[in-house]
């Protein structure tokens, strides 16, 4: 989905699955709302920085560091994106 589409309509979860799959090196279907970055997807802090860079670019958002610290699961990131897409 293009950035334009992202800012106009519904977000497509499959797109976030694709980004996380690529960055974290896991199959896309393992990327679900209730999975933990660290426990389930073996993402360390460097992986998360890389994931956030990709997500910020794709969705045109900026994730403040204190928000990042609160995000433990894919669902946390997804909720933030739905609220803030296209903010920046």
């Amino acid at each position: 989905m293009s950035d334009k589409a992202a800012s106009e309509g519904q977000l497509d979860f499959a797109e976030l699955q694709g980004i996380a799959s690529e960055i974290l090196g896991v199959d896309a279907d393992r990327v679900q709302l209730d999975v933990s970055f660290a426990k389930d997807l073996a993402a360390d802090s460097l992986d998360l920085v890389e994931l956030i860079m990709a997500v910020e670019d794709h969705y045109q958002v900026t994730l403040p560091p204190d928000e990042l610290d609160r995000m433990k699961k894919i669902g946390d990131l997804w909720a933030y994106l739905q609220e803030h897409r296209g903010d920046s």
Binding site: G25, V26, L46, E50, M53
Partner: protein, 409 residues
């Protein structure tokens, strides 16, 4: 010190047999640069590793977080350990160590990150850039992936790096700090910045229209070296341990010698004094006389200063034997693998002794009269050799010489 495994990822082949096929038939691995758009460069040729797929040797995520030099290193290390039959996972964590070198490390990732910094700011520097660029990460990665928990580091001496790595790894075993060492070097410097930097030094051949004829050590029409990439890694093992488990012993590292030129940043001592001292030290440590050496794999980069200085060094050390010893530069085929060159050439010595065939110096069509040794011109030559020397010299005036024995099996 037994050599029980070898792994090679090079412009002339991946794996022992493809590499030997090229070395024994005089096939060059040099071609046009495809890693980046080199159209504005005075040099547009290099020795690239063709069709390298890192995911054959590591998972996708690891491949994304390791610079190309580290990918080569892990691939070569996996091949070497498999070839050795050693199973580090079944050994104690202190028994197997790693010394794998690189001259330039993750140049590709440094350049990529610098581009992001300039274009988009600090927040787009990859968090993996620092671990990817450091020249010791290959050794760390190999330990993680192959369960080698013994001494672990890189030795860096530019184009002598992996010769020093092999020499030092042998010492680690000799002093009892490990039973086996995974050792060698890796390089992936065919990048816009590094190729450009060597162009600015007028160090590289500009024979763009005839890439396979560009690396021509000891030939008077040479015009510089050819940059190459790749990795060569060996498994060195305590000889008794290797024999007890019935391992195939490719050869032995009998001794190493090191010295500094004390002369210039990049130019060799024109008299070859430092190089000669490294060779003499290596022979003395091995307890061998010059007339026992049957083959010398020269550093021979295809630069006038280097070729002539090394010829003088060989004459100084070998004395009357200099007229009898066979000398060849396999860089005529491989190009210059920089931090992986020493290990590449140690492997060439091992294979030459095993296969009883000396690889040639190709492109030696117009011998430089100042280079007056037997360089095994253009065609491989059958020969029974028991002892070989491998010379490696690096920017900074670092010299390393390995004495390699044919081995007993």
């Amino acid at each position: 010190m037994a050599i029980t495994g070898m792994g090679l990822v090079t412009p002339i082949g991946t794996g022992i047999e493809p590499v030997w096929q090229s070395l024994s038939t005089g096939r060059s691995g040099i071609g046009p640069i495809t890693r980046f758009d080199a159209r504005d460069y005075p040099t547009r040729i290099a020795g690239e590793v063709p069709d390298f797929d890192p995911e054959l040797y590591m998972d996708r995520k690891t491949a994304r977080h390791v610079a190309r030099y580290g990918q080569f290193a892990l691939a070569a290390a996996r091949m070497a350990v498999e070839d050795s039959g050693l199973n580090p996972e079944a050994m104690g964590p202190d028994e197997v160590g790693v010394v794998v070198s690189s001259a330039a490390g993750g140049m590709d990732e440094i350049e990529r990150a610098d581009h992001m910094l300039l274009e988009r700011g600090i927040s787009r520097i990859s968090p993996f850039m620092a671990p990817m660029m450091i020249t010791d990460m290959a050794a760390g990665l190999i330990a993680i992936e192959l369960h080698a928990g013994g001494p672990n580091y890189a030795v860096v001496s530019a184009c002598a790096s992996s010769s020093h790595a092999l020499g030092d790894a042998a010492e680690v075993i000799r002093r009892g700090d490990a039973v086996a060492m995974i050792a060698g070097g890796a390089e992936a410097g065919i990048t816009p910045l590094l190729v450009g930097a060597f162009c600015q030094m007028s160090a590289l051949s500009r024979r763009n229209d005839e890439p396979t004829a560009a690396s021509r050590p000891f030939d008077r029409h040479r015009d510089g070296f050819v940059m190459s990439e790749g990795a060569v890694v060996m498994v060195l093992e305590n000889g008794e341990h290797a024999r007890r488990r019935g391992a195939h012993i490719w050869g032995e590292i009998l001794a190493s010698g090191s010295s500094a030129d004390m002369y210039h940043f990049t130019a060799p001592d024109p008299e070859g004094g430092g190089a000669a001292r490294a060779m003499a030290v290596a022979l003395r440590k091995a307890g061998l006389a010059p007339d026992q050496v049957g083959y010398i794999n020269a550093h021979g980069t295809s630069t006038a200063l280097g070729d002539i200085a090394e010829t003088l060094a060989i004459r100084q050390v070998m004395g009357a034997s200099a007229n009898r010893v066979a000398v060849s530069s396999t860089k005529s085929m491989t190009g210059h693998l920089l931090g992986a060159a020493g290990a590449m050439e140690a492997a060439a010595c091992v294979l030459a002794m095993n296969r009883k065939l000396l690889p040639p110096t190709i492109n030696l069509d117009y011998p430089d009269p100042r280079c007056d040794l037997d360089y095994v011109p253009n065609r491989a030559r059958p020969a029974e050799v028991q002892i070989a020397l491998s010379n490696s010299f690096g920017f900074g005036g670092h010299n390393s010489c390995l004495v390699i024995g044919r081995g007993s099996s």
